[in-house]
């Protein structure tokens, strides 16, 4: 992890754009398809450097998916870039039939995830994309925590032989990982652990990992915890999650997504079957977002460190109730 004293700020979508440029040079099969959002999806640099491998679809997300299916079926490795509310939102059936069931290696890059999109409002804040993608067989689902991890996730997606969904955010957020931090699809990373044996395991995905980390550190002495970065929503690192739940006895999930069907849903499904413990879910509770400043919205919808700490303490209290301590 980076030295906390000099934390760089960058958007995960920038890591995607950086990796695409590198792939342009290293993998001739990589092509980029975009539906009229080249600048904001950060594929513009690829378009300028490799114009023959950039394919413009116009405002047509359904066709973005079907054309990419054809390209992948032929032998290309297409990345398709749009806002997540449109892709995989609008084109969900095309992704299901022509990419997932067809099992062709299209890489779906969904931008503008979460309420932190800000002023654009609820129509453009994707809060259900992880749920849409993780229920499709054959699909791998990645949700990187920062710019550096987004870069690695994009490279890993290109090397993966199947369809992959990648989730990116609009705003600049702390870059917590370094080029040396390992990134293996399906393997969760322990990011931080308190000196005392953890009593709560905090699983976070996406840039909110930084908030989870801040909350955990804030409570270090009152409530020891472990913070784990779940950058792969599917396949979920079952072993790491169950082991951490066993060790701590209580779990908090943190995501900028609907709790239903997202990381919270995925972890709850796993633990209900393997090792039931109390779980507190931090994320969107069956609501849409609204316009506002990113920070303001995160606070309002309960994702600020203070609120998060409240949830972490809350789950510990529930553990106590279950144990008959209160």
């Amino acid at each position: 992890m980076s030295d906390t004293k000099e934390i760089k700020m960058a958007a995960t979508r920038d890591g995607f754009g950086r990796a695409l440029l590198e792939l342009g040079g290293s993998n001739p099969q990589v092509v980029v398809c975009c539906a009229d959002l080249a600048e904001s999806t950060r594929v513009l640099a690829f378009k300028e450097k490799y114009p023959d491998r950039y394919i413009e679809l116009g405002v047509a997300e359904q066709n973005l998916a079907t054309v990419a299916s054809g390209l992948a079926n032929y032998g290309k490795i297409p990345f398709i870039a749009s806002y997540a509310t449109f892709s995989p939102g609008r084109n969900n059936e095309q992704i299901r039939t022509t990419i997932s069931l067809n099992n062709v290696p299209v890489k779906i890059a969904g931008m503008h995830a979460g309420v932190s999109v800000g002023p654009d409002g609820a129509t453009h804040q994707a809060l259900e994309d992880l749920a849409l993608m993780r229920v499709q067989p054959n699909m791998t689902v990645l949700s990187p925590c920062d710019e550096e991890e987004a870069y690695k996730a994009t490279l890993a997606a290109a090397a993966n032989l199947g369809p992959v969904y990648l989730r990116f955010a609009r705003e600049k957020t702390p870059v917590l990982t370094t080029p040396e931090t390992p990134f293996v699809i399906g393997r969760a990373n322990v990011v931080w652990e308190s000196d005392h044996a953890p009593e709560v395991a905090i699983f976070a995905t996406g840039p909110l990992l930084a908030e989870a980390l801040a909350a955990a550190k804030e409570m270090e002495h009152s409530l020891p915890s472990v913070v784990i970065n779940i950058h792969t929503i599917k396949p979920l690192d079952k072993e790491a999650i169950v082991a951490a739940a066993k060790a701590a006895g209580a779990v908090v999930t943190v995501e900028e997504h609907q709790v239903a069907g997202g990381l919270g849903g995925a972890v709850a499904e796993l633990l209900a079957a393997e090792y039931p413990v109390p779980v507190q879910f931090v994320g969107m509770q069956d609501r849409f977002g609204q316009s506002g400043e990113p920070k303001e919205l995160l606070d309002y919808y309960g994702n600020a460190p203070g609120e998060l700490a409240f949830d972490v303490v809350g789950v510990r209290v529930r553990v106590g109730i279950v144990a008959g301590l209160f």
């Binding site: 679809l57 047509a60 998916a65 054309v67 054809g70 079926n73 290309k76 069931l101």
Partner: protein, 284 residues
Amino acid sequence: MITDTKIKELELKAEAIRETIVEMLVAAGSGHTAGPLGMADIFAAFYFHILNHDPANPAWEERDRLFLSNGHIVPVRYAAMAHAGYFPLAECLTLRKFGSRLQGHPERERLPGMETTSGPLGSGLGQAAGYAYGARMDNKKFRVYAFMSDGEQDAGNTWEAAMFAGANKLHNLTAVIDRNNIQINGMTEDVMPLDDLRKKYKAFNWHVLEIDGHNMNAIVSAVEQAKAIYEKPTLILAHTIPGKGVKEIEFDYRWHGKPPSKEEAKKFLAELRTMKGKIQSEHE
């Protein structure tokens, strides 16, 4: 141009495919009858004359690609593939059964030679266009064909793909619309009028040909013409008769989505068998 002998041979293949379709559907107990019978001539022309392919080596890299967008008429493709030697004819009777490679709607990964997975309407043209685009990037010489129904011209994705193919001048792509004028809820012009598809595709920068989809000579000539067109994809608007070959169900939209009963199948097969060699191209 093809010889009269070849035309006769293709017509006989189409009749054999029709018989297999009826046998498959009655064995399956569900499925679509009108569309597959109506497209038997076109599939016979493609699998036994037009396509550059090798049934013994379905993954041959230089083969022509055939994308079937309206996956529900796949019995006609299975029948044509079986007659062409992709798999034993007897396997046709496993259609829609548990464990079969012949799914109710086709799946690429289950059956070698099935170029893609389809069924939900409107997504085949985009896939074929993407495939053709990729192949053209690499200067591949094979051709990409997309078969569509007229009903799926209702779907927005179809027109997104038509616009994309026209804009990108995909001359290696030829689409065929099965213009049989029926869909599940009735006649296409009653359900959602398609009006002049010829004009619509022309406006999307396609080269458009219009043919009788039961005339072997016309089918083969249109595909040949399409190969000569530069800088545009070609649409072949093929007028067909739904249920073609079985008089009592021809033109009847109620046969879109149901199979014949055992008794009906017996009657249909008798009619198809007595007609063998007698259904001839209407240009003669």
